[in-house]
């Protein structure tokens, strides 16, 4: 049972490798690749969280509401930073891959938590985890990815702005983790959904505006 997360990783993540090879489009390969990267990070975050729980004398609630949002958001941001520094700082590409990175992380995390609470899971639990956790991880990493799009254009903005966005993502993640473990778990479903709806609306208006500008 100790290596359950690793077995889950093998079952869920590995089938994606042939898919990446087969897919003809570069964009699709990149997206699926970053979902895979997100899952790999989740696998490592699990080990880091175990160390942190030991470090904080087994205080699971404190670690999950305060420490793990920091470690997880930083870990998820690293592959996006690598992509921005080495390949491209294109805003749309960074937003897509960072969101994929977050979603990949959430998929493996959800699967692992499901196996740990198999007796207590319900449809409400699944909805809260699937919608809430997926949006928290996806939107949080996408926010950090947005800051990284300034890595080459404006170095001053990139450093301070990305740090500020990272703090926002960590706090957002922290709020979700506090509510999901409490009797107010419904808030953990509504809160990220509301934020996600606002982000989608803003992105929709931005694309419409781009179309108008081109026309």
């Amino acid at each position: 049972m100790d290596h359950l997360i690793f077995i889950l990783y093998l079952c869920i993540a590995l089938p994606m490798i042939p898919l990446i090879i087969v897919l003809p489009e570069k964009k699709s390969k990149l997206l699926i690749g970053y979902v895979l990267v997100g899952m790999t990070i989740c696998l490592n975050a699990g080990s880091i969280n175990a160390i942190l729980i030991n470090l904080f004398r087994g205080d699971m609630v404190y670690v999950t509401t305060t420490i793990s949002p920091i470690s997880e958001e930083i870990l998820k941001a690293l592959p996006v930073l690598y992509f921005a520094l080495v390949f491209s700082d294109d805003r749309d590409t960074l937003l897509s891959i960072s969101f994929a990175d977050g979603i990949g992380f959430a998929i493996l995390e959800n699967a692992y938590i499901l196996t740990q609470n198999i007796e207590a899971v319900s449809a409400q639990w699944a909805l809260a985890r699937v919608i809430g956790a997926t949006l928290v991880h996806g939107a949080g990493t996408a926010a950090v990815g947005l800051g990284m799009s300034y890595v080459r254009k404006r170095r001053k903005l990139f450093i301070c702005g990305t740090f500020a966005l990272l703090t926002a993502a960590i706090t957002f993640h922290g709020i979700f983790n506090v509510f999901i473990q409490s009797q107010y778990s419904i808030v953990s479903l509504l809160f990220p959904s509301l934020v996600y709806a606002l982000v989608v609306m803003a992105e929709f208006y931005r694309r419409e505006d781009q179309k108008e500008a081109k026309a």
Binding site: C160, L165, V178, A202
Partner: protein, 217 residues
Amino acid sequence: MQLYLNLAMVVCALAGMACGGLRYLGPRKPLYASMIVLGVACIALGRLYQCARLVTGLDIIDIFQLGILGTIGAFSFFFSSNYGQIDSLVDDRSTAFARYRIIASLGPIIIFVLYLLTIKEAYPSEKISYALISASIAAASYFHIKHFLIPDVDYGIVRCLRQFNVIALIYGILCMLELITIEYNMLTGEIVVGILQCIMSALLVPAMDMGVKKWTT
């Protein structure tokens, strides 16, 4: 009391954002303004985290907790907007502006003195939290003071943003005073500072909005 104060701050920060701030998150808007709005959103997020902890029966004092990241994120955005977007327009690093840079250094010094007062009675974990908060406020305060004083003869942009910079500076000092009142168990002081923080957090975006409208029209 802490729950009500934090809840009031969430409401005030969101109300401030709603007063003209949300449109700055749309396309082709000044990045400076977008960052200020995101900074105020960070204040709301940080306070919401503290509300969440209090509602679910968790502590927010005597420990390191993520609520402080709201304040740190907000002042990082304020710092980033002033340093990354505006500062190079008003200060060419010449000796003519040296005195403004020297006077602006008073901001970080004042924040450092207030930090020393907070750590007198604090636990080690609190000292780290307070140091992080103080560092972000100190960095931002330098530019708030500098952009309040500097003449800006070429563009006139920072002149329009003086009100915002004063309010942000006051908000930063109030955040430091909040830590002091918590450390010394001054309940009345905590309430007064909390109410003032509510007012300032509600005024941040409207003040910036007024300034941006002046410079863009």
